[in-house]
Protein backbone atom coordinates (compact mmCIF):
# COMPACT_ATOMS: atom_id res chain seq x y z
CA UNK A 1 0.00 0.00 0.00
CA UNK A 2 1.23 3.43 -0.88
CA UNK A 3 2.26 5.81 1.82
CA UNK A 4 -0.27 8.47 2.71
CA UNK A 5 -0.09 12.14 3.60
CA UNK A 6 -2.64 14.65 4.69
CA UNK A 7 -4.14 17.01 2.15
CA UNK A 8 -6.22 20.08 2.86
CA UNK A 9 -7.66 22.30 0.19
CA UNK A 10 -8.99 25.44 1.80
CA UNK A 11 -11.11 28.10 0.10
CA UNK A 12 -12.17 31.38 1.66
CA UNK A 13 -15.76 30.23 1.87
CA UNK A 14 -15.38 26.53 2.64
CA UNK A 15 -13.14 23.59 3.36
CA UNK A 16 -12.92 22.23 -0.16
CA UNK A 17 -11.20 18.92 0.54
CA UNK A 18 -9.68 17.20 3.51
CA UNK A 19 -8.30 13.69 3.58
CA UNK A 20 -5.48 11.17 3.32
CA UNK A 21 -3.94 10.91 -0.12
CA UNK A 22 -1.01 9.16 -1.75
CA UNK A 23 -0.29 11.74 -4.43
CA UNK A 24 -1.28 15.24 -5.46
CA UNK A 25 -0.71 16.79 -8.86
CA UNK A 26 -1.14 20.47 -9.52
CA UNK A 27 -0.01 23.32 -11.70
CA UNK A 28 2.26 26.03 -10.32
CA UNK A 29 3.69 29.15 -11.90
CA UNK A 30 6.92 27.19 -12.35
CA UNK A 31 5.25 24.27 -14.11
CA UNK A 32 3.31 21.16 -13.30
CA UNK A 33 4.18 19.31 -10.19
CA UNK A 34 3.47 15.97 -8.59
CA UNK A 35 3.81 15.60 -4.85
CA UNK A 36 4.35 12.34 -3.00
CA UNK A 37 4.65 12.01 0.76
CA UNK A 38 8.00 13.08 2.28
CA UNK A 39 8.45 15.91 -0.15
CA UNK A 40 10.88 18.62 0.92
CA UNK A 41 9.22 21.66 2.54
CA UNK A 42 8.20 23.99 -0.26
CA UNK A 43 5.88 26.91 -0.78
CA UNK A 44 4.82 27.56 -4.32
CA UNK A 45 2.36 29.72 -6.17
CA UNK A 46 -0.49 28.14 -8.08
CA UNK A 47 -1.36 28.73 -11.69
CA UNK A 48 -4.81 27.89 -13.07
CA UNK A 49 -4.95 24.18 -13.79
CA UNK A 50 -6.20 20.78 -12.79
CA UNK A 51 -5.75 19.42 -9.33
CA UNK A 52 -5.54 15.64 -9.33
CA UNK A 53 -5.89 13.91 -6.01
CA UNK A 54 -4.91 10.25 -5.80
CA UNK A 55 -6.69 8.64 -2.93
CA UNK A 56 -6.37 5.04 -1.81
CA UNK A 57 -9.33 4.07 -3.90
CA UNK A 58 -9.32 6.22 -6.96
CA UNK A 59 -8.69 9.60 -8.47
CA UNK A 60 -10.40 12.91 -7.97
CA UNK A 61 -10.15 15.92 -10.24
CA UNK A 62 -10.89 19.55 -9.58
CA UNK A 63 -10.20 22.90 -11.15
CA UNK A 64 -7.88 25.14 -9.19
CA UNK A 65 -7.49 28.79 -10.12
CA UNK A 66 -5.23 30.78 -7.93
CA UNK A 67 -3.60 30.67 -4.56
CA UNK A 68 -0.56 28.98 -3.13
CA UNK A 69 0.45 25.61 -1.80
CA UNK A 70 2.47 24.79 1.26
CA UNK A 71 4.12 21.39 1.17
CA UNK A 72 5.49 19.71 4.27
CA UNK A 73 6.69 16.09 4.42
CA UNK A 74 3.51 14.82 6.05
CA UNK A 75 1.03 17.40 4.95
CA UNK A 76 0.07 19.45 1.93
CA UNK A 77 -2.08 22.52 2.32
CA UNK A 78 -3.53 24.27 -0.68
CA UNK A 79 -4.85 27.76 -0.13
CA UNK A 80 -7.07 28.25 -3.13
CA UNK A 81 -9.02 31.38 -3.89
CA UNK A 82 -11.28 29.39 -6.16
CA UNK A 83 -11.60 25.62 -6.48
CA UNK A 84 -14.35 23.68 -8.19
CA UNK A 85 -15.35 20.05 -8.56
CA UNK A 86 -16.23 19.01 -12.11
CA UNK A 87 -19.95 18.85 -11.31
CA UNK A 88 -19.90 22.48 -10.22
CA UNK A 89 -18.62 23.73 -13.55
CA UNK A 90 -20.89 24.92 -16.30
CA UNK A 91 -19.26 23.71 -19.50
CA UNK A 92 -21.13 26.10 -21.78
CA UNK A 93 -20.15 29.05 -19.68
CA UNK A 94 -16.53 27.99 -19.54
CA UNK A 95 -16.43 27.55 -23.31
CA UNK A 96 -18.03 30.94 -23.82
CA UNK A 97 -15.46 32.46 -21.47
CA UNK A 98 -12.65 30.77 -23.39
CA UNK A 99 -13.92 32.12 -26.71
CA UNK A 100 -14.27 35.57 -25.26
CA UNK A 101 -10.76 35.56 -23.85
CA UNK A 102 -9.31 34.28 -27.11
CA UNK A 103 -11.16 36.97 -28.97
CA UNK A 104 -9.76 39.61 -26.66
CA UNK A 105 -6.22 38.36 -27.14
CA UNK A 106 -6.59 38.14 -30.92
CA UNK A 107 -7.96 41.61 -31.37
CA UNK A 108 -5.66 43.17 -28.86
CA UNK A 109 -5.05 46.86 -28.80
CA UNK A 110 -3.44 49.25 -26.39
CA UNK A 111 -6.44 49.11 -24.11
CA UNK A 112 -6.49 45.34 -23.73
CA UNK A 113 -5.36 44.13 -20.37
CA UNK A 114 -3.31 41.20 -21.63
CA UNK A 115 -2.49 39.75 -18.24
CA UNK A 116 -6.14 39.66 -17.35
CA UNK A 117 -7.21 38.16 -20.66
CA UNK A 118 -4.56 35.48 -20.37
CA UNK A 119 -5.51 34.43 -16.86
CA UNK A 120 -9.14 34.39 -17.92
CA UNK A 121 -8.19 32.11 -20.79
CA UNK A 122 -6.13 29.86 -18.52
CA UNK A 123 -9.00 29.64 -16.08
CA UNK A 124 -11.50 28.72 -18.77
CA UNK A 125 -9.19 26.09 -20.22
CA UNK A 126 -8.57 24.61 -16.77
CA UNK A 127 -12.33 24.32 -16.24
CA UNK A 128 -12.91 22.69 -19.61
CA UNK A 129 -10.05 20.25 -19.12
CA UNK A 130 -11.35 19.14 -15.76
CA UNK A 131 -14.68 18.21 -17.27
CA UNK A 132 -13.25 16.42 -20.26
CA UNK A 133 -10.65 14.64 -18.22
Amino acid sequence: MAELMKLQVICPDRMFYEGEVSMVELNTTEGEMGIYPKHIPLTSILAPGILTITEENGLKNAALHSGFVQILPEKVTIMAEVAEWPNEIDLDRAEAARDRAEERIRTKNSKTDMARAETALQRAIARINVIKH
Binding site: M15, Q70, T77
Partner: protein, 283 residues
Protein backbone atom coordinates in the same frame (compact mmCIF):
# COMPACT_ATOMS: atom_id res chain seq x y z
CA UNK B 1 -56.15 61.65 33.18
CA UNK B 2 -55.75 61.33 29.42
CA UNK B 3 -58.90 60.60 27.55
CA UNK B 4 -59.81 57.11 26.43
CA UNK B 5 -59.31 57.98 22.81
CA UNK B 6 -55.81 59.36 23.36
CA UNK B 7 -54.71 56.30 25.25
CA UNK B 8 -56.15 54.02 22.63
CA UNK B 9 -54.39 55.89 19.85
CA UNK B 10 -51.06 55.57 21.62
CA UNK B 11 -51.59 51.93 22.32
CA UNK B 12 -52.36 51.20 18.67
CA UNK B 13 -49.30 53.10 17.52
CA UNK B 14 -47.05 51.21 19.92
CA UNK B 15 -48.61 47.97 18.81
CA UNK B 16 -47.75 48.62 15.20
CA UNK B 17 -44.20 49.60 16.16
CA UNK B 18 -43.96 46.36 18.05
CA UNK B 19 -45.04 44.44 14.99
CA UNK B 20 -42.23 46.05 13.06
CA UNK B 21 -39.58 45.36 15.67
CA UNK B 22 -40.82 41.80 16.01
CA UNK B 23 -40.57 41.23 12.28
CA UNK B 24 -37.12 42.81 12.17
CA UNK B 25 -36.01 40.60 15.00
CA UNK B 26 -37.14 37.53 13.12
CA UNK B 27 -35.47 38.51 9.86
CA UNK B 28 -32.23 39.41 11.58
CA UNK B 29 -32.29 36.08 13.41
CA UNK B 30 -32.48 34.29 10.08
CA UNK B 31 -29.79 36.52 8.59
CA UNK B 32 -27.63 35.99 11.64
CA UNK B 33 -27.80 32.22 11.21
CA UNK B 34 -26.63 32.55 7.63
CA UNK B 35 -23.89 35.04 8.40
CA UNK B 36 -22.72 32.96 11.30
CA UNK B 37 -22.31 29.82 9.20
CA UNK B 38 -20.45 31.83 6.60
CA UNK B 39 -18.15 33.35 9.18
CA UNK B 40 -17.45 29.91 10.62
CA UNK B 41 -16.82 28.32 7.24
CA UNK B 42 -14.36 30.99 6.28
CA UNK B 43 -12.39 30.64 9.47
CA UNK B 44 -9.94 27.83 8.55
CA UNK B 45 -8.71 29.81 5.57
CA UNK B 46 -7.83 32.84 7.67
CA UNK B 47 -6.31 30.90 10.50
CA UNK B 48 -4.08 29.09 8.09
CA UNK B 49 -3.27 32.23 6.14
CA UNK B 50 -2.27 33.96 9.32
CA UNK B 51 -0.17 31.02 10.41
CA UNK B 52 1.58 30.76 7.06
CA UNK B 53 2.38 34.43 6.78
CA UNK B 54 3.60 34.50 10.34
CA UNK B 55 5.87 31.53 9.92
CA UNK B 56 7.10 32.83 6.58
CA UNK B 57 7.98 36.19 7.99
CA UNK B 58 9.55 34.87 11.15
CA UNK B 59 11.84 32.56 9.21
CA UNK B 60 12.87 35.19 6.73
CA UNK B 61 13.31 37.81 9.43
CA UNK B 62 15.56 40.31 7.71
CA UNK B 63 13.93 40.33 4.32
CA UNK B 64 13.67 43.78 2.83
CA UNK B 65 10.22 43.91 1.39
CA UNK B 66 8.26 47.15 0.92
CA UNK B 67 5.16 45.63 2.54
CA UNK B 68 7.07 44.96 5.73
CA UNK B 69 8.80 48.29 6.20
CA UNK B 70 7.31 51.25 7.97
CA UNK B 71 7.41 54.51 6.03
CA UNK B 72 7.87 58.01 7.36
CA UNK B 73 5.69 60.02 5.04
CA UNK B 74 2.09 59.70 4.04
CA UNK B 75 -1.18 59.50 5.85
CA UNK B 76 -2.69 56.80 7.97
CA UNK B 77 -5.48 54.92 6.32
CA UNK B 78 -8.24 53.25 8.22
CA UNK B 79 -10.81 50.87 6.79
CA UNK B 80 -14.07 51.20 8.67
CA UNK B 81 -16.67 48.47 8.46
CA UNK B 82 -20.16 49.47 9.59
CA UNK B 83 -23.65 48.70 8.32
CA UNK B 84 -25.87 50.35 5.76
CA UNK B 85 -28.89 50.31 8.02
CA UNK B 86 -29.52 51.48 11.51
CA UNK B 87 -31.62 50.04 14.31
CA UNK B 88 -28.78 47.86 15.41
CA UNK B 89 -28.18 49.23 18.89
CA UNK B 90 -24.68 50.53 19.49
CA UNK B 91 -23.17 48.58 16.61
CA UNK B 92 -22.26 51.52 14.37
CA UNK B 93 -21.51 53.94 17.16
CA UNK B 94 -18.96 51.65 18.76
CA UNK B 95 -17.00 51.47 15.53
CA UNK B 96 -17.16 55.22 14.98
CA UNK B 97 -15.90 55.72 18.51
CA UNK B 98 -12.93 53.51 17.70
CA UNK B 99 -12.05 55.86 14.86
CA UNK B 100 -12.62 59.13 16.66
CA UNK B 101 -10.64 57.98 19.69
CA UNK B 102 -7.72 57.00 17.49
CA UNK B 103 -4.53 58.81 18.51
CA UNK B 104 -3.77 59.94 14.95
CA UNK B 105 -5.25 63.43 14.29
CA UNK B 106 -7.92 63.45 11.64
CA UNK B 107 -5.91 65.73 9.33
CA UNK B 108 -3.44 62.86 8.87
CA UNK B 109 -6.08 60.26 8.33
CA UNK B 110 -7.87 59.00 5.28
CA UNK B 111 -10.86 56.77 5.68
CA UNK B 112 -12.03 53.90 3.50
CA UNK B 113 -15.58 53.13 4.48
CA UNK B 114 -17.61 49.99 4.01
CA UNK B 115 -21.12 50.75 5.21
CA UNK B 116 -22.99 54.03 4.74
CA UNK B 117 -23.72 54.62 8.43
CA UNK B 118 -20.04 54.91 9.17
CA UNK B 119 -19.43 57.00 6.07
CA UNK B 120 -22.13 59.55 6.95
CA UNK B 121 -21.08 59.83 10.56
CA UNK B 122 -17.40 60.30 9.78
CA UNK B 123 -18.09 62.70 6.96
CA UNK B 124 -20.09 64.85 9.37
CA UNK B 125 -17.20 64.87 11.79
CA UNK B 126 -14.88 66.13 9.07
CA UNK B 127 -12.87 63.07 8.17
CA UNK B 128 -11.54 62.65 4.67
CA UNK B 129 -13.39 59.81 2.98
CA UNK B 130 -11.11 58.41 0.32
CA UNK B 131 -13.22 55.56 -0.99
CA UNK B 132 -16.60 54.16 -0.15
CA UNK B 133 -17.63 50.57 -0.76
CA UNK B 134 -20.95 50.64 1.04
CA UNK B 135 -22.87 48.62 -1.52
CA UNK B 136 -20.98 45.41 -0.79
CA UNK B 137 -21.85 45.17 2.88
CA UNK B 138 -25.12 43.30 2.36
CA UNK B 139 -23.48 40.22 0.92
CA UNK B 140 -19.69 40.50 0.77
CA UNK B 141 -17.90 38.34 -1.79
CA UNK B 142 -14.27 37.38 -1.82
CA UNK B 143 -13.73 39.16 -5.13
CA UNK B 144 -14.95 42.39 -3.59
CA UNK B 145 -12.55 42.05 -0.68
CA UNK B 146 -9.90 41.49 -3.31
CA UNK B 147 -10.80 44.75 -5.01
CA UNK B 148 -10.56 46.68 -1.75
CA UNK B 149 -7.21 45.23 -0.83
CA UNK B 150 -5.90 46.03 -4.31
CA UNK B 151 -6.92 49.67 -3.92
CA UNK B 152 -5.27 49.78 -0.52
CA UNK B 153 -2.04 48.23 -1.72
CA UNK B 154 -1.82 50.55 -4.70
CA UNK B 155 -2.20 53.59 -2.46
CA UNK B 156 0.40 52.11 -0.13
CA UNK B 157 2.88 51.45 -2.90
CA UNK B 158 2.47 54.93 -4.28
CA UNK B 159 3.33 56.35 -0.89
CA UNK B 160 0.00 58.08 -0.31
CA UNK B 161 -0.47 56.17 2.88
CA UNK B 162 2.12 54.85 5.27
CA UNK B 163 0.08 52.45 7.30
CA UNK B 164 -3.30 50.78 7.11
CA UNK B 165 -5.62 49.94 9.96
CA UNK B 166 -8.90 48.11 9.96
CA UNK B 167 -11.81 48.79 12.32
CA UNK B 168 -14.51 46.15 12.49
CA UNK B 169 -16.67 44.27 14.92
CA UNK B 170 -15.46 40.87 15.96
CA UNK B 171 -18.19 38.29 16.36
CA UNK B 172 -17.46 36.43 19.59
CA UNK B 173 -20.82 34.74 19.85
CA UNK B 174 -24.45 35.61 19.31
CA UNK B 175 -24.71 37.97 22.24
CA UNK B 176 -21.23 39.38 22.44
CA UNK B 177 -19.50 41.41 19.75
CA UNK B 178 -16.32 43.31 20.18
CA UNK B 179 -15.25 46.35 18.18
CA UNK B 180 -11.63 45.91 17.15
CA UNK B 181 -8.92 47.88 15.45
CA UNK B 182 -6.06 45.97 13.87
CA UNK B 183 -3.05 46.91 11.82
CA UNK B 184 -2.93 45.57 8.28
CA UNK B 185 0.20 47.10 6.84
CA UNK B 186 3.12 47.12 7.35
CA UNK B 187 2.76 43.52 8.44
CA UNK B 188 3.87 42.95 11.98
CA UNK B 189 5.18 39.67 13.19
CA UNK B 190 4.23 38.43 16.58
CA UNK B 191 7.44 37.23 18.15
CA UNK B 192 6.13 34.44 20.34
CA UNK B 193 5.32 32.15 17.43
CA UNK B 194 8.72 32.51 15.87
CA UNK B 195 10.45 29.42 17.18
CA UNK B 196 7.53 27.02 17.07
CA UNK B 197 8.00 25.80 13.54
CA UNK B 198 11.57 26.08 12.48
CA UNK B 199 11.45 23.79 9.47
CA UNK B 200 13.43 25.50 6.74
CA UNK B 201 11.10 26.32 3.88
CA UNK B 202 11.94 26.52 0.20
CA UNK B 203 10.21 28.90 -2.11
CA UNK B 204 9.44 28.49 -5.71
CA UNK B 205 9.85 31.05 -7.33
CA UNK B 206 12.02 33.11 -4.96
CA UNK B 207 11.04 34.29 -1.53
CA UNK B 208 10.46 37.86 -2.70
CA UNK B 209 8.06 36.82 -5.43
CA UNK B 210 6.27 34.53 -3.05
CA UNK B 211 5.84 37.38 -0.57
CA UNK B 212 4.77 39.69 -3.37
CA UNK B 213 1.93 37.36 -4.11
CA UNK B 214 1.05 36.04 -0.69
CA UNK B 215 0.87 39.33 1.22
CA UNK B 216 -1.88 40.79 -0.98
CA UNK B 217 -3.79 37.55 -0.46
CA UNK B 218 -3.17 37.85 3.25
CA UNK B 219 -4.61 41.37 3.28
CA UNK B 220 -7.57 40.26 1.19
CA UNK B 221 -8.27 37.39 3.49
CA UNK B 222 -8.19 39.62 6.56
CA UNK B 223 -10.55 42.10 4.91
CA UNK B 224 -12.87 39.31 3.83
CA UNK B 225 -12.76 37.68 7.25
CA UNK B 226 -13.47 41.01 8.92
CA UNK B 227 -16.43 41.57 6.59
CA UNK B 228 -17.86 38.18 7.51
CA UNK B 229 -17.43 38.89 11.19
CA UNK B 230 -18.94 42.34 10.81
CA UNK B 231 -22.03 41.11 8.97
CA UNK B 232 -22.62 38.46 11.61
CA UNK B 233 -22.13 41.04 14.36
CA UNK B 234 -24.46 43.51 12.68
CA UNK B 235 -27.28 41.02 12.56
CA UNK B 236 -26.54 39.86 16.07
CA UNK B 237 -26.62 43.44 17.34
CA UNK B 238 -29.83 44.14 15.48
CA UNK B 239 -31.45 41.00 16.81
CA UNK B 240 -30.63 42.01 20.37
CA UNK B 241 -31.74 45.59 19.87
CA UNK B 242 -35.02 44.50 18.32
CA UNK B 243 -35.58 41.91 21.00
CA UNK B 244 -35.34 44.49 23.75
CA UNK B 245 -37.42 46.94 21.71
CA UNK B 246 -40.13 44.33 21.38
CA UNK B 247 -40.19 43.58 25.07
CA UNK B 248 -40.17 47.29 25.91
CA UNK B 249 -43.16 47.75 23.62
CA UNK B 250 -44.86 44.87 25.36
CA UNK B 251 -44.37 46.57 28.71
CA UNK B 252 -45.68 49.89 27.45
CA UNK B 253 -48.72 48.21 25.96
CA UNK B 254 -49.42 46.49 29.26
CA UNK B 255 -49.29 49.69 31.25
CA UNK B 256 -51.33 51.54 28.62
CA UNK B 257 -53.97 48.80 28.69
CA UNK B 258 -54.22 49.26 32.41
CA UNK B 259 -54.62 53.00 31.99
CA UNK B 260 -57.15 52.49 29.24
CA UNK B 261 -59.28 50.13 31.31
CA UNK B 262 -59.16 52.50 34.23
CA UNK B 263 -60.25 55.37 32.01
CA UNK B 264 -63.04 53.25 30.55
CA UNK B 265 -64.31 52.31 33.96
CA UNK B 266 -64.06 55.89 35.04
CA UNK B 267 -66.16 57.06 32.16
CA UNK B 268 -68.79 54.35 32.75
CA UNK B 269 -69.02 55.32 36.39
CA UNK B 270 -69.34 58.92 35.40
CA UNK B 271 -72.12 58.16 32.94
CA UNK B 272 -73.98 56.12 35.53
CA UNK B 273 -73.73 58.90 38.07
CA UNK B 274 -75.04 61.34 35.50
CA UNK B 275 -77.99 59.12 34.58
CA UNK B 276 -78.88 58.46 38.19
CA UNK B 277 -78.55 62.12 39.02
CA UNK B 278 -80.79 62.96 36.01
CA UNK B 279 -83.41 60.38 37.03
CA UNK B 280 -83.47 61.68 40.57
CA UNK B 281 -83.94 65.22 39.36
CA UNK B 282 -87.02 64.21 37.32
CA UNK B 283 -88.75 62.18 40.05
Amino acid sequence: MASMRDIKRRKVSIQSTQQITKAMKLTSTVKLQKAKTKAEQSKPYFDFMYETVNSMLSRSGNINHPYLKAKDTGKTAIVVITSNRGLAGGYNNNIIKLVTEFEVPKENMVVYTIGSKGRDALERRGYEIKEDYSDIVEDPQYSEANMISRDLLTAFEQGEIKEIYLAYTFFKNTVSHEPRRIKLLPVEISQEETDAKSIPMNYEPGEEEALDMIIPKYITSIVYGALMQAVASENGARMQAMDSATSNAEEMIDSLSLLYNRARQGSITQELTEIIAGAEAIS
